[in-house]
């Protein structure tokens, strides 16, 4: 009987052990660190899986680890996440358990949320020195590293500014030499370019992200930052934001320069419409669109341009307006507070943001460098990329607040819930007001909770 009890106890312990193994698997390389002798240590890096270049990414992982081992003796283990949700789950688990990857590669707009968890290292002057100095980066890319210079967590790793692609042949045929720099001018050009089944613009109204970027940019250009962090006030119920939505919807309902099917489009479908020559302008794309465009019928016939920075209804930038060409888009790297290899982590980030590595990365993956020297090198002799780099220097950060995630969602929600009206040809002013009030309330209550 006694042996039976013992057996039961062993079985029970085995079960607990089994259940707990899962919690400790990612604890590799957490031995104490001293200096930069990383011999025998492993750094854990969490990074987004690259769907466009999966093989190249695997090779890059190997190359980085080999180079880092040569420099410090430590190896690098990469973990990938497929979606923002995967990433968030991993961050939550790590934040709660105090163990996990040493470095996370985050999307720029997710940086404020990550910052608000308080789980990542705030970079001191000394830390910046370890990375090679703050001044090695393109200044605009630092705009979303933290709420202010003293409280930065994100180190810019790659830049993905948003620009507009246009079909050179279509513009030439219509006698237009270059895209307008005002939104009104662009709509006028698009009207000229709309004939038969070719439309002036390809817009992804059903995308989960695109709509807020348009609304944000047009609002910024009118001097409205969506969230006024100083006064802790959301400013969505403002004529500027309403004007932005009306312009965005008006392209379809009033100007009729967008394919009516676009109310069901995601970004990829808008790219596909442009790629098949059915649209003259394709606003809100990054350099990664090159991959699909170069394989399409418009290969060699398209170019990129900075999106208009003069707001709807204006011919010049208002005095309080900001010439926001794009959000600061790309990836930031953050180092976990719980990491016991922080110095080693900084040294890896330094290696990855060095001129050589950044140039190499851009040549392989198409994302642009955050390292200023590397950006210069890439720009030379590359006409296609030049406007994208230019847009990167004119980028503005979205409000650095934990409330931004909710606000962004509320802005997109206005578009999602307006799709039925959009489909019937008109989003009424009162209807839009009601939706803006709802979005304002969501953003405000989220801002009230922000710490």
């Amino acid at each position: 009987m006694r042996s039976r009890i013992a057996l039961g106890a062993v079985a029970g312990l085995a079960a607990i052990g089994l259940a707990l193994t899962g919690c400790s698997s990612s604890n590799s390389g957490s031995s104490s660190s001293g200096g930069l002798d990383g011999k025998g240590k492993t750094l854990d890096v969490m990074i987004a899986a690259n769907a466009l270049y999966p093989t190249e990414q695997q090779q890059w992982f190997k190359d980085v680890s080999a180079q880092f081992q040569k420099e410090t003796g430590a190896t690098v283990k990469f973990e990938t996440f497929a979606s923002a949700n995967d990433e968030l789950t991993k961050i939550q688990t790590s934040v709660l358990s105090g163990q996990g990857p040493d470095i996370y590669d985050l999307g720029t707009t997710f940086t404020p949320t990550a910052y608000s968890t308080g789980a990542f290292v705030k970079l001191t002057d000394d830390d910046w020195k370890k990375i090679g100095g703050r001044d090695r980066f393109v200044p605009a890319t630092l705009g979303i590293s933290g709420p202010d210079e003293k409280n930065e967590v994100g180190i810019p790793f790659l830049s993905r500014p948003f620009v507009m692609a246009y079909n050179k042949d279509l513009l030439k045929a219509a006698g237009i030499d270059k895209p307008a720099d005002t939104w009104d001018g662009l709509a006028d050009q698009a009207k000229k370019l709309t004939t038969g089944d070719v439309h002036g613009m390809a817009i992804a109204y059903a995308d989960s992200f695109d709509p807020w970027k348009f609304v944000w940019a047009m609002s910024m250009q009118q001097g409205n930052t969506i969230l006024d962090l100083q006064n802790k006030k959301a400013t969505i119920d403002d004529p500027a934001v309403k004007k932005a939505y009306q312009t965005y919807f008006g392209w379809l309902t009033d100007d009729k320069i967008v394919d009516p099917a676009a109310i069901g489009w995601k970004n990829a479908q808008a790219v596909a419409a442009f790629a098949s020559g059915k649209a003259a302008f394709l606003p809100m794309v990054s350099s990664s669109s090159q991959v699909s465009l170069d394989k399409s019928g418009v290969a060699g016939k398209y170019a990129y341009a900075v999106m208009p920075t003069i707001p709807p209804g204006e011919t010049s930038l208002p005095s309080d307006g900001k010439a926001a060409a794009t959000i600061i888009s790309g990836d930031n790297m953050v180092v976990a507070k719980y990491s016991k290899n922080q110095d080693l982590a900084f040294s890896l980030v330094k290696m990855l943001t060095s001129t050589d590595n950044q140039v190499k990365y851009t040549k392989t993956f198409g994302d642009l460098p955050t390292n200023a020297d590397a950006a210069k090198q890439i720009e030379q002799g590359n006409q296609l990329i030049a406007p994208i780099l230019d847009a990167g220097t004119k980028a503005y950060g979205t409000p650095f607040s934990g409330a931004w995630g909710d606000t962004q969602l509320a802005l997109v929600n206005v578009v999602v819930q307006s799709i039925p009206s959009l489909s019937s040809g008109k989003v009424s002013s009162s209807d839009l007001d009601a939706k803006l009030t709802a979005a304002q309330n969501t953003a405000q209550s989220s801002l009230n909770k922000a710490k």
Binding site: A206, A261, G264, P420, S423
Partner: protein, 330 residues
């Protein structure tokens, strides 16, 4: 005389198929003797320990954590040391009910789940009856029937999303017939799109369970009905269906639970933020947690939905007599 022949041994059917049988008027099942107290003492209950501990870790602990979370003001700011997050009692529940779209989402989820479950019943039943008798190519048809069910929800969602898009296959096909119903993936019709797609993907489940139930109908019963000159309708209504009462009831409840928990399909079909007409409970909970980072609030929503699901689950457990109380009484 024929009536006596036509009464099916419902109790036995239930036993064989492991499904909720109807009542057993004939009392065909022999009463089970309860073991004596003396024997209970020697039972090696400790052998349940590993399973018990696993259950504790996998089910009970997360449940307790969820209940605890629902009483905390847990968000991105307090996540790092979540046990120190401010305790706010029932405020999350209050907020969920009064100022979130929880009640609306419950309404959408429950009605969608009921409609989809009820509509799949006759389809599955008809399909099972149609493939009951042997014919050339029956195996192939039976396999084809299962395709919608074995496809991953993600694939089904993507497929239908493409078909239902403005200007997509569905619109252009209906357009040639002169029908222009409007938007499928947003607006009031989206609710019916969700129901149609859920029915498309889940009816084979009914079909499978009914098919299993049909196997248990004695051959003699068919013969007897034929000898008595019963028409197909009388045979179906008075002979076959009483046999299938158990499997159908079981399938209804499981289908309802599947539907109400469906996340992937609405998520892929409509994306987030979801159009108001298809803002189902699982999607709402997901958005609250992973887009708004209100973990406490979403835990409260999850507990509410757990209670909602517990009602049919309770009915189900009673029906299959898995709860020991019922077993003891018998």
């Amino acid at each position: 005389m024929p009536e006596t022949i036509l009464i099916p041994p419902a109790g036995e059917v239930g036993e064989q198929s492991g499904s909720p049988a109807g009542t057993n008027p004939a009392g065909a099942r022999p009463a089970r003797k309860r073991p004596k107290r003396g024997h209970e003492k020697g039972r090696p209950l400790w052998m349940l320990l590993p399973g018990g501990i696993l259950m504790l870790l996998v089910i009970v602990v997360p449940l307790i954590v969820a209940v605890l979370m629902s009483t905390l003001d847990l968000d991105q700011y307090t996540l790092q040391s979540w046990l120190q997050a401010p305790f706010i009692g029932l405020q999350n529940y209050f907020e969920a009910i009064t100022s979130s779209s929880l009640l609306r989402s419950i309404g959408i989820s429950v009605s969608f789940a009921v409609i989809a479950a009820v509509v799949t019943m006759p389809i599955g039943l008809a399909a099972a009856l149609a493939t009951q008798n042997k014919f050339r190519g029956r195996a192939l048809i039976r396999s084809l029937f299962l395709i919608p069910y074995v496809l991953p929800a993600f694939v089904v969602g993507t497929l239908w999303r493409t078909m239902l898009q403005p200007g997509g296959v569905v619109d252009s096909t209906l357009g040639t017939l002169g029908v222009h119903p409007g938007l499928w993936l947003n607006g009031p019709l989206s609710y019916w799109s969700l129901i149609i797609v859920q029915i498309w993907t889940s009816w084979p489940f009914f079909y499978l369970l009914v098919l299993a139930g049909l196997q248990s109908v004695d051959h003699e019963v068919h013969e007897a009905a034929a000898l008595d000159g019963a028409t197909w309708w009388i045979k179906l209504r008075d002979v076959i269906l009483p046999y299938l009462r158990g499997p159908i009831f079981l399938a209804l409840i499981i289908a309802f639970l599947h539907n109400i928990n469906a996340f992937t399909l609405p998520f892929v079909l409509f994306g987030v933020p979801a159009p108001v007409d298809v803002d189902v409970l699982p999607v709402l909970t997901y958005v609250t947690s992973f887009q708004s980072f209100r973990f406490g609030l979403s835990a409260a929503m999850a507990i509410c939905s757990l209670i909602l699901i517990a009602i049919p689950l309770f009915v189900y457990l009673r029906a299959v007599k898995l709860d020991s109380g019922e077993e003891e009484k018998r």
